[in-house]
């Protein structure tokens, strides 16, 4: 009994501590608690043994390895930062490659949340530079509201400090420990401090800090300005200071920049920073992203809308989503009110008649003071809630991206010719409202195939890639190393050739190869998963989204799909789940749990875009057949009319015109034929009416397909004038 009490007491203190601090994720907290308990248990049993020891001391007792007293000396508090410093894989710092991504991700997510909360259209700069073989310097800047001077060290130098943890509201940052963990990782691996510069207004000074985190105390240690940080005045003198001290800062009236140097590994392709930023741009069409990678390639994702997503509302928990322990805790927290009041005020969707009904089912009086509700009653209440029919929670607390913006976002980033989007109405799992959105891109030919010779020459000239392969991979989105290798092999030029030194003959071969190599061959569907607008990049196969895609029959929508596999073809699919509480399978927050309600909604969303794709593909095929048909007739008409006029001397042009009009009527007849649903078949695929939420574009006109290196214009000229 004693040790149980001890354990609960300990639990409580831990809880309090966590609450006083900042965003810890639920699971992290649990883990910590477990650890504490485990540590405490041996000592408790030692206590119990001690009471027996006087009796046992007379006999030949086995030699004790240690005493409770001795052991107590080593038992002490564990700092949150110490814990995470040891268990950094829990936060996504398992390996250097992921560390880089997590750092960027935490910073960008924080920036976006801050901008949106302040109502600023976000613009983000991400700079990655290599400083040593396995060291990179990462700088992330936003145009957010800035941070107050005294808050800066706490936000960046103290784990579990922040605003997002306690409210039930849709935001990116359930991600938790976040940026301070990234800073800690950087300090641990390189010893370099985290540098923060933040500005709240154009006429206000910018605050500049260099911080190290004290892992023992979970406290920031400020290194510059004698432990006080530095204030950089606005205007020219400030500019000079920034320049003199080599502080990285893109001039902005307000915003924050954090620079972390860390041990990392830069990669491209799957699970890379580039992929994360690209996917973020798709799901957040209102942001502008500037990204400069270690090879000095600049990627810019311009915003396609100037409308900020509406501010998500905070909601009270729905009774169905509350576990027994939480219910008991809530009862305890509530000071001096009746049970009825408690139920109606602390939960959403509970009215007083409903509260009465719950109490009746539980056999507890509505006027019972919450203080007097014990464990037993709480359990009765819990079961009563599950039995009572309560209307689903309000779903207006969720802010979906919206079909229109999904189309815009995908069109901006993913090259293709057909786009469809579907936003499902909100639904509820376990009392938590959520909403599923699906976007689909069907890409015509690869960007390499749409290029003209002149454009290729231009691109070759302006690129600073060292090899042809590099040139291809960086210039053409979605090509990948494999595609580039295929092209180079077909063109039979050396992989290591310098693009600018290619001979005209080799350029010709490269051009022909680019035109002819079918990149899409054997390509399977690309799946982009999002939770609250944050891309999920790992554990694809464990995710409910992937599993639902696999279980959907894509063959009926005109795609080929082998059993139990992803459909084949130039298709990209994005699935977004927005919720106040996204159910992840594990603490790594990389896969969504398999709730039947969620799977059902995903399936319905997939079917909605799939049907549109099927219509598009079928009609395109039909239109192609029809135009083929007309073309064949037209091709032979001239021959026929010439032959006939040779035989009987009829005027050839006249006969040709007559035959032509017959042909037109004949094929017009074919055009008028009705499709399966009795609608007239239209001819031009871009004129197809597939309902709303579909975008059909000419793939050759797509600007996202090719990355061009920006040629810097010399600003001096402007000054001279």
């Amino acid at each position: 009994m004693g040790d149980v009490a001890l354990a609960t007491a300990k639990k409580k203190t831990v809880k309090k501590k966590v609450r006083a601090a900042k965003p810890a994720t639920r699971s992290v907290k649990k883990k910590k608690v477990k650890k504490k308990v485990r540590k405490k248990t041996p000592s408790a049993s030692a206590d119990a043994e001690m009471q027996h020891s006087p009796a046992a001391s007379n006999g030949v007792a086995p030699k004790r390895r240690s005493t409770a007293k001795a052991m107590a000396a080593t038992q002490r508090d564990i700092s949150v930062s110490e814990f995470f410093a040891k268990n950094r894989h829990l936060l996504g710092f398992d390996n250097p490659r992921k560390a880089l991504l997590t750092t960027v991700k935490e910073a960008v997510d924080n920036s976006l949340d801050a901008c949106e909360e302040a109502g600023i259209l976000p613009e983000i700069w991400v700079h990655i530079q290599q400083t040593a073989n396995d060291r990179y310097k990462v700088g992330i800047q936003d145009n957010g509201p800035g941070i107050l001077k005294k808050q800066i060290p706490l936000i960046f130098g103290k784990l579990l400090y922040g605003s997002k943890f306690h409210r039930l509201r849709q935001s990116r940052g359930q991600q938790g420990i976040g940026i301070s963990a990234a800073g800690m990782y950087g300090v641990q691996t390189t010893g370099k401090p985290v540098k923060i510069i933040s500005k709240v207004g154009a006429r206000k000074p910018a605050h500049y800090y260099e911080i190290q985190i004290d892992t023992k105390k979970n406290e920031p240690r400020i290194l510059n300005g004698k432990g006080e940080g530095v204030d950089i005045p606005p205007g020219e003198s400030g500019k000079a200071y920034i320049e003199k001290h080599g502080i990285e800062w893109v001039e902005q009236p307000h915003g924050t920049r954090v620079t972390i140097e860390l041990e990392a590994k830069f990669v491209r392709g799957r699970g890379s920073v580039g992929e994360y930023l690209e996917q973020t741009a798709i799901a957040n069409p209102h942001i502008t992203l500037n990204y400069e990678d270690p090879d000095d390639f600049v990627y810019t994702y311009e915003r396609s809308t100037k409308v900020l997503p509406p501010e998500p509302k905070e909601i009270k928990p729905h009774p169905y989503g509350v576990e027994l322990g939480r219910l008991a805790a809530m009862l305890e927290e509530t000071q001096g009110s009746t049970l009825s009041e408690f139920l109606t005020s602390r939960f959403s969707r509970v009215t007083s008649p409903l509260a009465r009904r719950i109490c009746q089912t539980a056999g507890v009086g509505t006027r019972t003071n919450t203080h007097k509700v014990g464990r037993k009653e709480a359990e009765l209440l819990f079961h009563a809630i599950q039995k009572t029919k309560i209307s689903p929670p309000a779903t207006d607390c969720i802010c979906p991206i919206g079909e229109d913006l999904i189309l815009k976002g995908m069109h901006k980033v993913v090259p293709g010719e057909f786009y469809a989007a579907a936003t499902r109405p909100p639904a509820v799992y376990r009392g938590n409202p959520f909403q599923i959105e699906v976007g689909l891109t069907y890409g015509g030919s690869a960007p390499t195939q749409n290029i003209s010779k002149d454009l290729l020459l231009d691109l070759l000239e302006e690129t600073d890639a060292r090899t042809v392969r590099q040139f291809l991979v960086h210039t053409f989105n979605g090509l990948g190393g494999e595609g580039a290798d295929k092209i180079i092999k077909t063109a039979s030029i050396g992989t290591r050739q310098t693009p600018s030194k290619l001979k005209p003959k080799e350029i010709e071969a490269l051009f022909t190869a680019m035109k002819n190599v079918n990149i899409a061959e054997g390509q399977s569907m690309e799946v982009l998963r999002y939770a609250n607008r944050v891309p999920l990049q790992f554990q694809q196969s464990a995710c409910a989204i992937t599993q639902t895609i696999l279980n959907t029959n894509w063959r009926s929508y005109g795609l080929s799909q082998s059993r139990g596999g992803l459909p084949k073809g130039p298709v990209s699919l994005m699935v977004h789940i927005a919720s106040v509480w996204v159910p992840f399978t594990s603490e790594s927050k990389e896969a969504i749990a398999n709730y039947p309600e969620i799977q059902k909604e995903i399936r319905l969303g997939l079917q909605a875009v799939g049907r549109k794709l099927g219509m598009f593909l079928r009609r395109r095929l039909r239109v192609k057949q029809q135009s083929d048909r007309r073309e064949i007739f037209l091709r032979y008409l001239k021959e026929v009319s010439t032959a006939v006029s040779e035989i009987n001397g009829v005027k050839q042009p006249e006969l040709y015109e007559q035959l032509l009009s017959v042909a037109k009527r004949r094929t017009a007849d074919a055009d008028m034929k009705l499709d399966e649903r009795g609608k007239k078949i239209q001819e031009d695929p871009t004129q197809l009416d597939l309902g709303e939420n579909v975008l059909i574009v000419d793939p050759t006109q797509h600007e996202a397909a090719i990355n061009r290196v920006e040629i810097e214009e010399e600003p001096e000229e402007a000054y001279e004038e």
């Binding site: 007739f633 021959e639 032959a643 006939v644 006969l655």
Partner: protein, 386 residues
């Protein structure tokens, strides 16, 4: 090539005054009729089409009374505005216009010549009117049945194939040909042997019968041994399946000079079918049977019993393959073989033997066995299949 083009164009006007024979006029009018139908269809905004009698086994009827194959009445419609037929329709019109040009100029050309005349790239497409001569040849046969005019009437001829030699004198385009003085090569039977080209005179023919052999090599053997001299006959061959010229020539010799015909062919399904074509006409050209089939032709050899009868050595056997067996069974089922007991047992015997025999296999006995023993014996015994 560059020189030829202008020359080719001018004759169109110069030869406009070519004198047309009544047959040419008839052919021309049916070609013009074909074109007029296109014009009237176009005027009334209807789909132009042609109905082509079908040239398949299903549309072939065996007339037991006449002993020949006749074409039935079923027709295939070929439309311009039908995806699968548009190209064939266009080609039909092209062939018709090509033939019209030949008639106008009073010239004739080979099948290959017409193919080159009509072959060109279609305007605005990477497609040729014809890619292969076979494509053109089929269309020509279509036009023949469509216009009910034979190839000769369209001023087309095929490559000369087959030869004859024997005690006969004929006139070929005015030249007198003595077939008894043709040396080792013999008189090459032209593709067109119509009376306008070749004149036969019963008075100038001393031969008593015709011996037709399958191919040139066997024919050489007979010619070298002067078989035709000894037996006073006409000796012909058709290089395998005899072309229309050879068949037409045999037909005329048979009917106009009243000469019986005996065939010496290989003992295999193909040999049987060659005999069948000579006797009843072919399925593909059933419309020509009337002019070509010789129901009285006799099959002299080789027979499936010859291996035993002539005591040939095992080495000459050529075993049947799957294709041979299939074809033999098919031939046995043709209506014109079905009712003939002796033919049925002949075919069954070959299938039982499971080998075929070429005429040359008789050489294993003696070089001149076939000319000195085999054929004379069969003729003397009147031992043949009908």
């Amino acid at each position: 090539m560059a020189k030829k083009r202008p020359i080719k164009k001018t004759p169109v006007t110069r030869h406009a005054a070519v004198k047309l024979t009544p047959r040419d006029k008839k052919t021309l009018s049916s070609i013009t009729d074909l074109a007029d139908r296109v014009v009237s269809a176009a005027k009334t905004r209807k789909d132009p089409y042609v109905d082509i009698p079908s040239r398949t086994l299903s549309n072939v009827r065996f007339s037991p009374r006449k002993g020949i194959l006749e074409m039935g009445n079923s027709k295939n419609r070929r439309q311009l505005f039908d995806l699968s037929q548009a190209k064939a329709y266009m080609r039909t019109m092209l062939v018709a216009s090509g033939c019209k040009r030949l008639l106008d100029q009073g010239k004739s050309t080979s099948l290959r010549g017409l193919f080159y005349m009509l072959k060109h790239t279609i305007e605005g497409a990477k497609e040729n009117t014809f890619d292969d001569q076979n494509e053109c040849d089929t269309i020509i046969e279509d036009v023949e049945v469509l216009l009910n005019s034979i190839r000769e009437e369209l001023h087309l001829y095929a490559e000369n194939r087959g030869a004859m030699v024997g005690n006969i004198v004929l006139t070929d385009k005015g030249d007198t040909i003595d077939c008894a003085r043709m040396g080792s090569g013999g008189y090459a039977i032209p593709s067109i042997v119509e009376p306008e080209v070749i004149e036969l005179d019963p008075k100038k023919c001393g031969a008593k019968f015709i011996l037709h052999v399958e191919k040139g090599t066997v024919w050489q053997r007979f010619n070298e041994d002067k078989f035709w001299e000894k037996h006073n006959c006409i000796l012909t061959h058709g290089s395998g399946q005899p072309p229309r010229g050879v068949r037409r020539m045999l037909h005329r010799l048979h009917n106009e000079l009243k000469l019986p015909i005996y065939c010496v062919l290989d003992n295999d399904p193909w040999g049987y079918y060659i005999y069948s074509v000579i006797k009843q006409g072919s399925i593909n050209l059933a419309f020509e049977s009337q002019r070509m089939a010789i129901p009285d032709a006799k099959y002299l050899g080789l027979r499936s019993i010859d291996f035993d009868r002539c005591q040939l050595s095992d080495s000459v056997k050529i075993s049947l393959n799957e294709n041979d067996r299939k074809r033999a069974k098919q031939i046995a089922k043709y209506p014109w073989f079905e009712k003939k007991r002796r033919w049925q047992s002949e075919i069954q015997r070959m299938l039982k033997n499971d080998f075929k025999l070429e005429v040359e296999s008789l050489i294993s006995k003696d070089i001149s066995y076939v000319t000195e023993v085999y054929v004379p014996e069969r003729l003397a015994e009147q031992d043949w299949l009908d």
